[in-house]
Amino acid sequence: MATDPGQVRADPRVRGAEENQTVLIQRTLRSGQSIFYPGNVVVLGDVNPGAQVAATGDVIVVGALRGTVHAGAGGDEAAVVIAFRLEPTQLRIAEHVSRPPAGMVPAGQPEVARVRDGVISIGAFSGAGERQGTVARALVPYDLEAESDSEK
C-alpha cells in the first residue's frame, strides 16, 4: 500500500453530511467513551486517556486532553485542535498522525495543534479569536507503516 509516512485514512465512524456545526460535550470523556461528529466538537471537561474524539472540523477541549483526537477527520488540513492542557496520547489532523515526543513536559498553558509544512505542530494558544500561534514545538510525525513493520 503506497501511503506517505504519517498518513491515515478518513475516519469512517464520522458519519453524516459535513456541516459547519458544533456540538458541545458538557462532561469529561472517560476511558472507553468516544464522540464522532461531522462538524466541530467542544468538550467542556477533560478527554481522558483511552477516550476518543473524531470530528470533520476543529476539536476544542476546555480541560486536559490526554486521549486521542482526530480533527479534520474528513480530510480538512486546516482543522486545529485546541486544549487547555494538550497532552494527547495521539493526535490526528486530516491524514496526519503524530504523538508527543517521549518525556514531553506539559506547557502549562493552552495550546493549539495544526498542520504546518505537512507536520502537526503545536504552539501556544493566545486566544482572543486568534487561530494563529507561534510554533513552539513539533510533534513527532507518526509513521503507521514503519510502526507496524517494527512489530513483525
Partner: protein
C-alpha cells in the same frame, strides 16, 4: 432503609474483596448492621477472606432462584456483631443471576441492614452489571498503576451511565517511598485524571497478606497502618470528617526529622 454500596474497580487484583471485608467488619465494629454480598459468582472469595467458607449452605444463586429464603443463606459472622455475608455460588457463572434479581435481593437486605456492601467481580460484563444493578452508591478502588487507573476511569464512566453518580475513590497499595522517589503515581496524579472525591488511601502493607490468608480482617489490627486506613475509611462512610493520615508515620526517623525542619 439502609444504604446499598457497590465496591468495584474494573481491573482485578486491586483489593475489592479485601476492602469489602474490612469495610463490612469496620461498620459492624462501629455498631451498625452490615450485609456483605459477594457478587463474584463462580470465583467466590469474600467468604474465604472472612474465614467463613466452611459455614456456607445456601448462596446468592439459591436465593435468586427461590431455592431458599434470604435469611437461610445469610451467614452471621460471630466475631463482628451485626456483620452478615451472602456468599456467591461457586459452581455457577455470572449468567445464573439477572440484574433484576440482584436488585430485589439488595432491596430486601436494605430493609434489615444499615449498610449493604456489594463485592463486584473484575471486568465490565454481566457480573459488573449484576453488581451495580441494585446499588445506590459506588466505591471505586484503584492502585497507583497506570493500568488500574485507566480501568477505574472506564468503570466510573460506566457507573455514571448506570445513574451511579459521584462515586468515591479508594487508592490501595500506595508506597509512599516510591512516590517520593518519583517512581509511583502520587495521589494528586490519580485524582487529576479521575476527578472524583477521595474516600481513603491504603498503604502497601504485608499485614494485609497475612490477615487475608488467615481470614481475619486487618481492620482489627490496632497497630497496622492499613488497619487504621480502613478504620478511617469506615468513619468517612459514616459521615465523619477524618483527615488523611500520615502514611510515613513508621518511616525512617531521620527522614521525619528532616521533613520536620523543612528539608524533606
Amino acid at each position: 432503609m439502609g444504604e446499598i454500596i457497590v465496591i468495584t474497580s474494573g481491573k482485578g487484583g486491586v483489593g475489592k474483596t479485601t476492602a469489602a471485608a474490612n469495610i463490612g467488619a469496620g461498620l459492624a465494629l462501629r455498631g451498625y448492621k452490615a450485609a456483605l454480598v459477594d457478587a463474584d459468582i463462580g470465583l467466590r472469595n469474600l467468604d474465604v477472606v472472612l474465614g467463613l467458607e466452611n459455614r456456607i449452605v445456601y448462596d446468592l444463586v439459591d436465593v435468586a432462584h427461590g431455592h431458599c429464603r434470604l435469611k437461610q443463606a445469610l451467614i452471621k459472622d460471630k466475631r463482628f456483631e451485626g456483620l452478615h455475608l451472602l456468599p456467591a455460588a461457586q459452581t455457577k457463572d455470572k449468567t445464573a443471576v439477572k440484574p433484576e434479581q440482584m436488585r430485589e435481593i439488595c432491596l430486601q437486605l436494605s430493609e434489615e441492614f444499615d449498610y449493604v456492601i456489594i463485592d463486584c467481580p473484575a471486568g465490565i460484563e454481566q457480573g459488573f452489571r449484576n453488581a451495580v444493578a441494585g446499588a445506590e452508591k459506588a466505591i471505586v478502588i484503584t492502585t497507583p498503576e497506570v493500568s488500574a487507573v485507566r480501568d477505574a476511569d472506564r468503570v466510573i464512566g460506566l457507573l455514571e451511565a448506570a445513574e451511579l453518580r459521584e462515586p468515591k475513590l479508594v487508592i490501595n497499595r500506595l508506597r509512599p517511598k516510591m512516590v517520593r522517589q518519583g517512581n509511583m503515581m502520587n495521589i494528586e496524579d490519580i485524582i487529576d485524571i479521575l476527578a472524583v472525591d477521595l474516600l481513603g488511601v491504603i498503604p502497601e502493607d504485608e499485614k494485609i497478606i497475612v490477615t487475608t490468608n488467615k481470614g481475619d480482617p486487618v481492620i482489627q489490627d490496632e497497630r497496622s497502618l492499613s488497619g487504621e486506613a480502613f478504620r478511617n475509611i469506615t468513619r468517612r462512610i459514616l459521615g465523619e470528617p477524618v483527615p488523611l493520615m500520615d502514611l510515613e508515620r513508621n518511616g525512617n526517623f531521620f527522614l521525619r526529622l528532616r521533613r520536620m525542619v523543612g528539608l524533606g
